[in-house]
Amino acid sequence: MSDIQQSIIIRTIVRIMIPFILLFSLYVIMHGASGPGGGFQGGVIFGAGIILYAMIYGIEEAKKKISDKANRILASGGLVLYAGTGLLAILFGGMFLEYGVIPLMPTTAYTAKILIDVVEIGIGMTVLAVMISLFFDISPPETEEDMHIHEEVE
């Protein structure tokens, strides 16, 4: 592991690739309504991007980018966004998750499309936060030696 982490080629390539991975994941989440994609897939790609960063630059460094607290807020926030969309339909006199009754857009189909996008974002938030926090939880804590390797290469 430390051999890979010390390699300057891998460190540079990963640093260049990660913005594109994250951008692609956002595209996949937002494109779920009209093409291949959706919240689950996009969330997993985003999580994979952050996990790649954590594998090469170390868990502690990755936790500075996305902290445990941010993970928990994102995971529960996504679920609240999804359930909240369903409850909003009840407020407007429909059934749970009946998108058509919300007077957001002129046609019910268009409203449903917008709200499906909102729901996909909620799914994506939960999935990405859970993927990242699973990796952080299951991987062993970093030792002093690991931290030293990162400082040396930098």
Partner: protein, 91 residues
């Protein structure tokens, strides 16, 4: 022990292969699952009812929205369970 396991596995596999003979052939457009009226309904009406061209997304978020909400709750619960199992001293 290993031989017993192998015997059980081969027996189950043979049963599944035998049952598989009655399933529709690969890529069969006459298969009951495809000819079922709900499948045809989803393909014809997904866009007019959900405004979404991706039928899978329309099914996932609109027709089966309840199921997907439960699914999201499942991954959330799994994440929180792992957090509690492995890092309970920190919390």
């Amino acid at each position: 022990m290993k031989l017993a396991a192998l015997f059980v596995v081969i027996l189950t596999g043979a049963m599944l292969i035998y049952a598989g003979q009655d399933l529709p052939a690969f890529g069969d457009s006459e298969s009951p699952a495809y000819q079922h009226r709900m499948t045809q309904y989803f393909i014809e009406n997904a866009e007019s009812e959900s405004g979404v061209t991706n039928i899978v997304t329309a099914l996932l978020a609109n027709y089966r929205g309840y199921d997907t909400l439960g699914e999201t709750a499942v991954i959330f619960t799994a994440g929180m369970s792992v957090l509690m199992l492995l890092r309970r001293r920190e919390l």
